[in-house]
Symmetry: C2
Subunit: 333 residues, 2 copies
């Protein structure tokens, strides 16, 4: 496959070079600890507040570091490209973010992340830091995948981070913030499509091969295979192929209210993302479901993959209040 | 060149299909008039406030419709893909947005836009609507271009829209808002690079051809040729090739303060954009220039072009106050 050019200096330093720019651009909101590497809310977690923390491999920007700040994450731990951060690295972030009320770790369901976040929780137990952990597995495309036992964690992660962060900001206890995150997890489902693969800088070529008229329905955010490859189709058909499994998984009923997230994978024009949003919304409304809140944009990307994912979250008044609460982060406010 | 897949239904309806989704996703902020087509701030311009209006060909999203809302644009007029909106369409938006204090039109310097925005101003003069117009020509890459006599208007447009919109929101007169916009124009300069071309849906193939190890320095936002094609280089070298002509054009001196905008062209991962931001900032600081404000992201795109542009705005206290003023739009807040 054709080589893909990148705006980088040394590929080995891409993650830290980029984070250095990120830290300077958002010095009013975040601060970076370099050894070990994590991003923390500027000034640390307010005393007595639960520290909501997340992390994982890089290449999905703005996830997670872009969501550090008031009303969302207390810290984010970036790994190397598509690679879990290490347990000592995660543990250092826990210690730094903890402010007397414990840590809620939001972990996407990938084998490396599950292992290292689990080990990190054990490491800080010795310091008497209480850690709860929730595992995001919102991708309804496939059970088990390249890097995953069970479902993958994808763009629903952003919603868990936002809502748990809002619960922490209003002063909920660790048990309450954790329950809030679990409530989101019980009511969220996602599925994505790729029209063209993203390119990991160190590889320099697209991560998988799609024919000139072929798309991958149910693709993962590391380019993992989805449910099937099929011929490229109009946006309405593709949207339906993503939305129907989501609605089935959530067992959505007429009269229910939802948040609809259309997430660009990094290489998709906003014009296409809004078009898909309109189609998905019309289909939900056709089922008697009301779209009460919306988000459209590049939030959980796969480098420069061309594609989108749909995420639907079943809403209730409590979730709406938390979604609407103030957020001040580099990527969401 | 290889065909590029798109998430669309009918290519002829792509702009309106996408706007329909946009309008639904942001119904709290904007409203769309379909015939003729324009996007207006929800509920219209507050009485007595200058209506700051902009528009131009589609394909650069979120520009301009994404910047309609409190503290920025009163209305935006989208043309077809890379095509100016018509004079009657623009005039209808002026009439709809005008709230007793006149209209400031912010026009990017392309031949079609200059013609049609000029005609629109004449059309509404008959209705006793005062229209002032400023022309954005911030691209220092080339004099005269494919669709342009003189310099092209590129990502600096966003800064003019934000700052003029803030002046209007605080109650400045039409003459004052216009002077504010001109002050930005006198102190802003931009230049871009393409690593790979974007694809207009109706064409289905990249708009220009770059060799596998070739980049276009000084590219326009419609893929117009820049200063030169050269071999692909490390990000630091590319950043320098963009920043030096900008600094020369602005005659930046040590001790001055600037806003630095790194703008993704639509297909560029955020990771690369932040990396370029860090490099550009270091170079500015190396010249004794202080980066006081920053913006990094996809704001003035060229569909799915892979590349970035740099924009530098010389700041003073008055501009900083206007930049920091509240903004509530779909794409910037």
């Amino acid at each position: 496959m054709k080589a893909v050019k990148k705006l980088l200096d040394n590929v080995d330093d891409a993650v830290t070079d980029s984070l250095a720019g990120f830290a300077q651009a958002h010095a009013d909101l975040v601060e970076v600890n370099w050894r070990p590497l994590y991003v923390r809310r500027r000034g640390g977690t307010p005393p007595g507040q639960v520290a909501v923390v997340s992390g994982g491999g890089s290449g999905h920007e703005p996830l997670h570091a872009g969501f550090v700040g008031e009303g969302m994450l207390a810290a984010a731990i970036p790994g190397e490209m598509f690679t879990s951060p290490s347990a000592p690295q995660i543990a250092a972030a826990y210690r730094s973010a903890e402010a007397g009320a414990g840590v809620l770790a939001i972990v996407k369901n990938y084998t490396g992340d599950i292992l290292n976040f689990g080990l990190a929780a054990e490491l800080v137990e010795l310091d008497d830091i209480a850690v709860e952990q929730v595992v995001v597995d919102d991708d309804v495309a496939v059970e088990d995948s390249t890097f995953t036992a069970g479902r993958r964690g994808v763009a629903g992660t952003l919603l868990v981070e936002k809502i748990a962060g809002a619960a922490a900001a209003r002063g909920d206890s660790l048990a309450e913030v954790t329950a809030c995150a679990r409530h989101v997890l019980d009511n969220v489902a996602s599925m994505g499509v790729a029209l063209a693969a993203g390119t990991v800088p160190a590889v320099g070529r697209p991560g998988f091969d799609l024919g000139p008229d072929e798309i991958e329905i149910g693709v993962g955010i590391h380019g993992e295979p989805g449910r099937r490859r099929e011929p490229h189709a109009p946006a309405t058909e593709i949207t339906r192929a993503l939305l129907e499994p989501i609605c089935a998984d959530l067992a959505l009923e007429p009269g229910e209210r939802v948040l609809l997230l259309v997430n660009g994978m990094g290489g998709t024009p906003l014009l296409e993302q809004y078009l898909v949003y309109g189609r998905a919304r019309a289909m939900l409304e056709g089922r008697g479901v009301t779209v009460e809140r919306s988000l459209v944009g590049n939030y959980v990307t796969s480098l420069d993959m061309h594609g989108v994912s749909l995420t639907v979250l079943r809403l209730d008044d409590a979730l709406i209040d938390l979604w609407d609460a103030p957020t001040h982060t580099p990527a969401l406010r």
